[in-house]
């Protein structure tokens, strides 16, 4: 490993925070900051400049979704991995739309956590079957005739197929074999489903801001 990955851990349960921090440090990551709530997370992020933020959604202060938005606005190259105990569906989906690229339940093993942090850092989305189901559901919702949105994002048939397989617990390797694709192609399809949803979310936010007259001329983003 050329240089240790810089990671920040945000969790309000000290026991959990310590456990995750120790696991990551043992695996050779550089834990540059920890935070117990949203305020600390947002305050410590700029100085610590982590590459990956391991974030619990259920935290006091600005919640996980808001923290995701704030840190990614500050540093778009950072990655957010959601580590959540209670699997609150709406929150997870909101965090992903706000830019988080990974989601892991807390009962995942240490190996899974370490692997997830590595993959998140590499820009590879980390999906649980549950998250894939949510994303799929969100696309379905957006494609319903009632949701009258001219630039709603749509999945290609292949993307839908891949996402359904992720949602039924198949690994990228299994999917690649079943669909006779390369591992990289499967990864790209999954990445695209997220990217389109996040882009749409940004467009929605901007349009909403313009409609509300909130679009201040602060230069190109």
């Amino acid at each position: 490993m050329s240089e240790a990955l810089r990671v920040m851990v945000v969790d309000d349960h000290p026991m959990w925070r310590d456990a995750v921090e120790r696991d990551l440090a043992d695996a050779g990551f550089d834990v540059v900051a920890v935070a117990a709530d949203g305020h600390q997370a947002v305050a410590r992020f700029p100085a610590a400049r982590p590459q990956v933020v391991v974030l619990d959604l259920q935290i006091p202060g600005p919640n996980g979704v808001e923290v995701t938005e704030t840190v990614l606005r500050h540093d778009p190259s950072a990655r957010v991995l959601i580590l959540s105990a209670s699997g609150e569906q709406e929150d997870v989906l909101a965090a992903v739309k706000a830019g988080a690229t990974g989601y892991l339940v807390k009962s995942a093993s240490r190996e899974q956590l370490i692997d997830a942090v590595r993959r998140t850092a590499a820009g590879d989305p980390v999906f649980t079957p549950g998250l894939a189901g949510l994303v799929l559901g969100e696309y379905r919702r957006l494609s319903e005739p009632a949701a009258d949105d001219p630039d709603r994002p749509q999945l290609t048939e292949r993307e839908t197929e891949v996402l359904r397989m992720v949602a039924t617990g198949m690994s990228y390797k299994q999917i690649a074999e079943r669909l006779v694709l390369s591992h990289r192609t499967v990864q790209n399809h999954v990445q695209n489903t997220l990217r389109k949803l996040q882009l749409h979310n940004r467009v929605e936010l901007t349009r909403w801001a313009i409609e509300q007259g909130l679009d201040e001329p602060d230069g190109p983003a």
């Binding site: 959990w16 009962s107 240490r110 079957p129 189901g133 799929l136 039924t168 617990g169």
Partner: protein
């Protein structure tokens, strides 16, 4: 307000009949007294703390005095009393304060006095008095029911608020417990041996608690369910070996159709346990399309060997598979089975509405 309208009427009638009066001065004093009393008592009744029995008694007494003085001020065979319809207001006050009994008592007193002061009772007068005596208890009864309803509503609101607060506190506690259970589960699995068993137990408890929270959330809002959220029903199937993926929104179906889907799904999961072994994991995915609903169940078992299924069908040993297919057909949908090195997958598809 009503009292003020009534007193205005009394004042008008008093002025109009002033020239007929035997003692116009006395009549004027009585009507003026009624006007003054009305203003005072309207102010007094506005605040609940001033609505005392003494005030009510004086109010009623004023009406009775006005009635008693009528034959003195007015000529024999008078039609309207000095107070006129105004006598209604103390009676309504009694009804409002003391329910139907108060209304009846005040009505009888006012009506009785009215009868006593008259030499002859015309049909019109009798009608007015009869309405007065009947009206008192009726208004009193209505007031009582309204008060009961208000008390009932207040209690229901308080209970709802208390339940919401309990649920909020429970969620906070549950979240903490869930965090600890998942930590124990994770550490246990890493340590191995006895700790691993402990970890598994913690994992099972985590699932159980999560199911309980979901069940609790479900009770709170819904009325009698003819339509149910299939997401809720499927979420209840999650366990250590079953992973359920849901869309983030409700998928409503008729309750009996949803029950059939869940039954078919249980059959699929039983199948997984039987054929793929107890260590196999099953994944359930619910998808809601505009006109149909699809539920997929995949296991990571070895899959069904080529030809085994058709062999079984040919032998008439359809068993569980047959029941799954049959259930879905009855719902106007279909059940498809796919198998390969990646496991075995059932896809149950059915239209949202009954055919």
């Amino acid at each position: 307000m009503l009292r003020l309208v009534l007193v205005a009427n009394t004042l008008g009638v008093g002025l109009y009949t002033a020239d007929e009066m035997v003692r116009p001065a006395l009549g004027g004093v009585v009507v003026a007294g009624l006007v003054a009393w009305s203003l005072l008592v309207t102010w007094a009744y506005a605040d609940a703390s001033r609505r005392t029995w003494r005030l009510l008694a004086v109010d009623l007494a004023v009406a009775l005095v006005a009635l008693v003085l009528t034959p003195v001020a007015k000529p024999e065979g008078f039609d309207a009393t000095l107070a006129g319809f105004w006598v209604m207001s103390p009676m309504l006050a009694w009804a409002a304060r003391a329910g139907w009994r108060g209304g009846l008592l005040a009505g009888l007193l006012v009506g009785g006095t009215d009868l006593l002061i008259r030499d002859d009772v015309t049909q019109g007068t009798y009608g007015n008095i009869f309405l007065l005596v009947v009206g008192g208890p009726v208004v009193g009864y209505l007031v009582e029911s309204l008060q009961r309803a208000a008390v009932e509503r207040d209690r229901a609101e308080r209970e709802a608020a208390a339940a919401a607060e309990r649920a909020r506190l429970a969620r906070a506690v549950h979240d903490g417990v869930l965090q600890v259970l998942s930590l124990v589960q994770r550490r246990g699995a890493e340590l191995g041996g006895e700790a691993a068993a402990l970890g598994r137990a913690a994992g099972e408890q985590e699932e159980a608690l999560r199911a309980l929270i979901r069940a609790q959330d479900r009770v709170s809002a819904r009325g009698p369910a003819t339509r149910v959220d299939l997401s809720d029903a499927l979420a209840g199937l999650e366990s250590m070996s079953v992973v359920v993926s849901l869309p983030g929104h409700a998928v409503e179906l008729d309750a009996d159709r949803a029950a059939e889907v869940v039954a078919a799904l249980r059959a699929c999961l039983d199948n997984v346990e039987r054929h793929a072994g107890p260590d196999a994991t099953a994944w359930v995915l619910l998808e809601a399309l505009p006109d149909k609903v699809s539920v997929s169940v995949r296991d990571d078992g070895p899959g069904i060997v080529d030809g085994r299924l058709s062999e079984a069908v040919a032998d008439g040993r359809l068993g569980v598979s047959g029941s799954i297919v049959g259930r879905l057909r009855d719902l106007g949908g279909r059940a498809d089975l796919a198998t390969g090195p990646w496991g075995t997958e059932w896809t149950l598809t059915l239209p949202r509405e009954a055919p």
